[in-house]
């Protein structure tokens, strides 16, 4: 390997990183999309903190992104990120979360951060399965799917995470798949740039475990082709009502609201107002 020929995103990678994702996993595509967004924004990488929880998605920034990364307990990344952001509002704080991490065990922090409209960017890698623990059902697993904990088919209904984020108060919401790596890059850039709670739902492939569920085991190309064929842009449908239908993946920027006050801003005003010995 010649030293001078490097991947264009190499400078964002922590030297010594060893990618242990499975072949074809969407996580690497999302890592790239994110880093490209940051490159395009021309942000100082040292001013971004990545917080992630336990799950394969948590390994996207940690340890590989060469800036401050905080890798915490399963489900709690947003709660930790809240402490980071409130303490140093100048930092951009980006959370990477698996669908289980975010919406199963971490569901409460998710809706509360959205409600508070705190300036965080939360990227959820929705592979519709628990990848890291080998293929159990998630709250995002489609009904009737056979997983290791739903051997007779999943009896539970599926969360529409973007809708939940919206209803809880998020001011920016976008959904894309790994097939839409370019659009993802743009939406992630917008989300990071925007003040307020931003949510990116990235539908991604886990060829090992979810691939097995849908008969595409270890077949990332087929999974991504399916993303392509099932996706439909929000602008091309009339209403959001059938958003959660199993058949279609509605992609696009679903929410972009500019009215709501952001929490760290409000706190800063308060400090100025009541501060006595600060």
């Amino acid at each position: 390997m010649l030293k001078d020929i490097e991947h264009p995103l190499q400078k964002y990678i922590r030297p010594g990183t060893n990618y242990t994702t499975c072949p074809g996993c969407g996580n690497g595509i999302l890592a790239q999309s994110t880093l490209r967004a940051i490159k395009n924004l021309e942000l100082d990488f040292d001013n971004i903190v990545f917080v992630s929880g336990i799950g394969c998605a948590g390994w996207i920034p940690s340890p590989s992104f060469n800036t401050d990364v905080l890798h915490v307990t399963h489900g709690r990344a947003i709660a930790y990120a809240t402490g980071v952001k409130l303490t140093n509002p100048k930092l951009k704080v980006v959370v990477f979360s698996g669908d289980g991490d975010l919406s199963a065990i971490g569901g409460n922090h998710f809706i509360h951060a959205a409600r508070r409209n705190i300036d965080l960017t939360v990227i959820c890698v929705n592979n519709r399965i628990y990848g890291m623990t080998s293929g159990q059902a998630a709250p995002t697993t489609p009904k009737n799917s056979k997983t290791t904990t739903t051997p007779y088919g999943n009896m539970e209904n599926t969360f529409d995470l973007s809708d939940l984020a919206k209803s809880a108060g998020a001011t920016f919401v976008a959904r894309w798949t790994t097939y839409h790596a370019r659009q993802l890059t743009k939406s992630i850039a917008k989300a990071i740039d925007k003040k307020g709670f931003s949510f990116i739902e990235a539908i991604s492939q886990c060829p090992v475990h979810y691939g097995k569920v849908i008969g595409m085991r270890n077949d990332a190309p087929s999974m991504m082709k399916e993303f392509k064929s099932k996706s439909i842009h929000i602008n091309k449908i009339d209403s959001l009502s059938n958003e959660s239908s199993d058949d279609k993946i509605i992609v696009g920027e679903l929410v972009n609201e500019n009215e709501k006050a952001e929490l760290t801003d409000l706190m800063q005003s308060l400090r100025t107002e009541v501060g006595t010995d600060g």
Binding site: I5, H7, P8, I13, Y19, P23, G24, I29, S33, P221
Partner: protein, 72 residues
């Protein structure tokens, strides 16, 4: 120029799948990881769309616009 870090490749085939001009195929030599990394068949057909780079989950293939090169 397409660069392929062969030993970083996990053989998923995404680059091959999404090359619009079908100039990528699996090579014949196993890499360190025991898989067959891709190789470029006809670099002249490359339209520099960046798909192979963007869709590679392992940072194993990328390009610099304006030429051709295979790299281990």
């Amino acid at each position: 120029m397409i660069y392929i870090k062969k030993d970083m490749c996990k053989g998923c085939g995404l680059c091959i799948e999404f090359c619009p001009v079908n100039i990528l195929k699996f090579s014949e030599d196993l890499n360190e990881k025991g898989v067959y990394p891709p190789e470029v068949t006809d670099i002249n057909k490359c339209i520099e769309c960046e798909n192979c780079m963007i869709y590679c989950p392992d940072f194993a293939i990328f390009l610099e616009k304006g030429g051709v090169k295979n790299e281990k």
